[in-house]
């Protein structure tokens, strides 16, 4: 559609400046008090108002649902997670990410200029993260106290097999190692068949699981020596419950390796507001943001983060700036939408959640299990000097921690 909306996306019935005062919001302007929203219906209503801020923009970028952010950040956005609403919010959050995958299936996704632009900005570092994970697995396989046989690897949201291809490359150096490896590939999208095709030349033992990771964890009862994922965990808002599921599927000597993007950008409304402002969003839309969050977004969110974490936020700003520059003046007609809100955490938060879930992230514990492995000084392994933005984080199931 020429006004930038597309089918399925609600077109604002009147210009943003004419919209009514928000029917629901976490703070009361009359008293100045903040009351976090906890009823599911109210959260949905509030979230819809938030999403409308960018509805109909001519560029294919939207804020997306608040529920896409990390659960850890929900209170900053005015939402309270309770025992009563947790399951429903978790389901709804997962559905929003499923929507991304569905859009990916539509139309010209693979040849899509937007897809290419996104890939161009993220693939170089993702490929490097894949290589780091692959080298760690190789070292651990070779340096384990007891021989790992079979080597059972679970690649969650494997996409077209980038990570498994790196692992196969690393393991192929040693005769016979690949023969005892089993690659379990989980992916919901049609990329799974591409992964199988990309890995064919290695002659791997592949077990494809064409389903979501949630479906996999709900139905599969096998254990794995290595659970790996690349650029996926930031799509899992409920990190604690997700890590618990992963933990339950790991063997006693199991190691979890996550290559992912990290940023505190979506952890506080003030940072997202700043991004929208830099995007050149109209005043009316920004005013709407103000009305929804009031003092919540005015309170500084960035002061709780250290330098690498702040650098991570800056990197994400740069990502969006490059995205705008890449889109230029061209009118985008594709099906895909890019959403700002994601469940990014900082590395520190991720490691704390891993520890809470029963893993150990301490390098000395890991060294004791793999005494002959050449490992780095510490985890995470950062891809960029002084920045948290892209890193490989490693955790081991505590059962064998010495």
């Amino acid at each position: 559609m020429r006004d930038g909306t597309r089918e399925g996306e609600k077109k604002p019935s009147q210009p943003p400046e004419m919209l009514d005062r928000p029917s629901i919001r976490p703070y009361d302007p009359t008293t100045g008090s903040i009351n976090l929203i906890s009823s599911v219906d109210s959260i949905i209503e509030f979230d819809n108002l938030f999403r409308e801020i960018t509805t109909g923009l001519p560029i294919p970028i939207r804020v997306g649902s608040i529920l896409r952010a990390s659960e850890l950040a929900y209170p900053n956005w005015g939402i309270q997670v309770t025992d009563e609403n947790r399951a429903e919010l978790e389901k709804r959050a997962a559905d929003f990410y499923k929507q991304d995958a569905e859009e990916g299936r539509l139309g010209t996704y693979e040849g899509d200029e937007l897809h290419r632009l996104k890939k161009g900005l993220s693939a170089p570092k993702e490929e490097r993260m894949a290589t780091h994970i692959a080298r760690l697995i190789k070292e651990m396989v070779l340096g384990s106290v007891k021989a790992i046989d079979p080597i059972r690897i679970l690649d969650i949201a494997c996409g077209s097999g980038r990570l498994s291809s790196s692992i196969a490359t690393a393991l192929s150096e040693f005769t016979g190692v690949l023969d005892r490896a089993e690659f379990h590939l989980v992916d919901y999208s049609d990329k799974l068949s591409k992964a199988e095709n990309n890995l064919k030349a290695f002659g791997l033992n592949i077990v494809p699981h064409p389903m979501t990771d949630d479906q996999f964890f709900a139905t599969n009862r096998e254990n794995f020596n290595f659970v790996v994922s690349l650029s996926h965990l930031h799509r899992r808002p409920f990190l604690a419950s997700y890590l618990a599921k992963v933990y339950s599927r790991m063997s006693d000597d199991g190691v979890l390796m996550i290559g992912d993007w990290h940023s505190a950008l979506c952890q506080h409304p003030s940072q997202v507001y700043l991004l929208l402002q830099n995007m050149g969003l109209e005043h009316a839309r920004l005013n709407r943001f103000d009305e929804l969050f009031g003092p919540l977004h005015l309170s500084a969110g960035a002061d709780r983060f250290n330098d690498p974490e702040l650098a991570g936020v800056m990197d994400q700003y740069k990502y969006w700036r490059d995205m705008f520059a890449g889109l230029g003046e061209k009118r985008y007609e594709g099906a895909m939408r890019l959403r700002i809100m994601s469940a990014f955490t900082t590395n520190k938060q991720l490691m704390e959640e891993m520890d809470k879930a029963g893993f150990t992230t301490h390098i000395d514990d890991i060294r004791m299990a793999f005494p002959r492995s050449a490992l780095p000084n510490a985890f995470p392994i950062r891809m960029k000097l002084g920045s948290d933005s892209a890193a490989v984080t490693v955790a081991m199931k505590k059962a064998i921690a010495r």
Partner: protein
């Protein structure tokens, strides 16, 4: 008069004079005009295969052929791949080679770091720096892969401070990208960026300047030996070279090309003309393939899957690209032979015995795929004499 024995035993006179060579390229251009992708100049292929295409290389024509080969590649690079990018991506994916270049960089990086680690253990190498030149660096993937390999272990991390990387890449724009990427690497590498092409730069550089040459997926654009000789001169005593590259023999004989022309939509009459011009007969392909190893056959199958997929893609979108499909791919054996001829030691026993970096290495060749020659990393050293 130069002749070549054809697979079926006939002897044919080979074209030698410049005018004859020009006519061959003109024939290819004319015959393939309008196709979604064209072969490009015949002189893009590896020099040792030219006789199979009816061409003799001699002292009188070699510099002309060399220059023609070089300019044919430059013309393509300058023209860029433009709208063909999507088709290339899809074709690579269909051929199952999506991560080939990246994975080959990783293998190359592991080899480099292992060599540096062992080289730096010897008494004379303990305190000195290593000058490493990345030839045809593109956007810096190879150097970054080396740095990442160093970063992956506390044992090798310290190597980074001993290395100075010389990044050689003709495109200034790409060098800018390399600079940005290296600046932000956690190991803070020392670096010098050089915007030049390989041969021009090496002719100006002091002899024995580098301890190591690294290069990935570049040499299959260089059909002749000259760059290898120059690289040897640029290497210091005991210097080593690690090359990752694509190895196939699909352009060794015109019999491979006729089916591709059909795929690209050439008329049957034109394909026949092609076969007649290059003296391709029924059974030639089988004869040529009977001399190949299983790994070479698999490599050719993978390469043809890529080219065929690319032809399909380009035809399906009706695109006419500036892509040229002939390249200087050669068999791994041929490459090793060229390296030896240029003054590199390729024998693993000799390397182990005479070069500290190879002491703990099992093999100086590493195939990315066990059953195929298509992607391989080779480490060699400058011969003592």
């Amino acid at each position: 008069m130069n002749t070549q024995e054809w697979p079926r035993g006939e002897r044919m006179r080979l074209a030698e004079r410049i005018e004859e060579l020009q006519k061959i390229d003109a024939f290819l251009d004319e015959m393939c005009e309008g196709l979604a992708m064209t072969p490009g100049s015949i002189f893009r292929i590896a020099g040792q295969y030219l006789p199979n295409w009816g061409i003799a290389v001699n002292r009188k024509n070699e510099s002309w052929i060399w220059e023609r080969s070089r300019s044919a590649y430059y013309a393509e690079w300058e023209g860029g791949t433009g709208d063909a990018n999507t088709a290339i991506e899809k074709a690579i994916e269909k051929a199952g080679l999506e991560y080939g270049n990246k994975d080959m960089n990783d293998v190359l990086a592991d080899t480099v770091v292992r060599l540096l680690h062992d080289m730096s253990k010897t008494i004379q190498d303990k305190t000195r720096d290593f000058a490493i030149i990345d030839v045809g660096a593109g956007t810096g993937d190879t150097t970054l892969a080396i740095l990442d390999a160093m970063q992956s272990s506390e044992v090798t991390e310290a190597l980074a401070s001993k290395c100075h990387f010389y990044i050689l890449e003709p495109s200034f724009k790409r060098l800018g990208n390399v600079f940005e990427r290296l600046e932000e690497h956690p190991l803070k590498p020392r670096k010098t960026l050089i915007s030049s092409n390989l041969e021009e730069y090496l002719r100006t550089v002091r002899r024995e300047s580098f301890n190591m040459v690294v290069s990935n997926a570049v040499f299959h654009h260089m059909g002749f030996l000259s760059h290898l000789r120059l690289l040897r001169e640029g290497l210091a005593k005991n210097g080593v070279m690690v090359i990752g590259d694509w190895h196939t023999t699909v352009w060794q004989h015109p019999a491979y090309v006729a089916p591709i022309l059909r795929k690209l939509g050439a008329s049957e009459m034109n394909v026949r003309k092609f076969e007649s011009f290059f003296n391709v007969r029924k059974g030639d392909l089988e004869t040529v393939e009977s001399g190949l190893t299983p790994k070479q056959l698999e490599a050719n199958r993978q390469m043809l899957a890529y080219v065929t997929a690319l032809a399909d893609e380009l035809r399906s979108v009706g695109a006419k690209s500036k892509l040229k499909f002939l390249e200087a791919h050669e068999s791994l054996e041929n490459r090793l032979g060229k390296l030896r001829a240029a003054g590199f030691e390729t024998d693993m026993d000799e390397l182990k015995a005479n070069y500290s970096g190879f002491l703990n290495m099992k093999s100086n060749q590493r195939h990315l795929y066990h059953k195929s020659d298509i992607a391989c990393v080779v480490a060699v050293a400058k011969t003592k004499k």
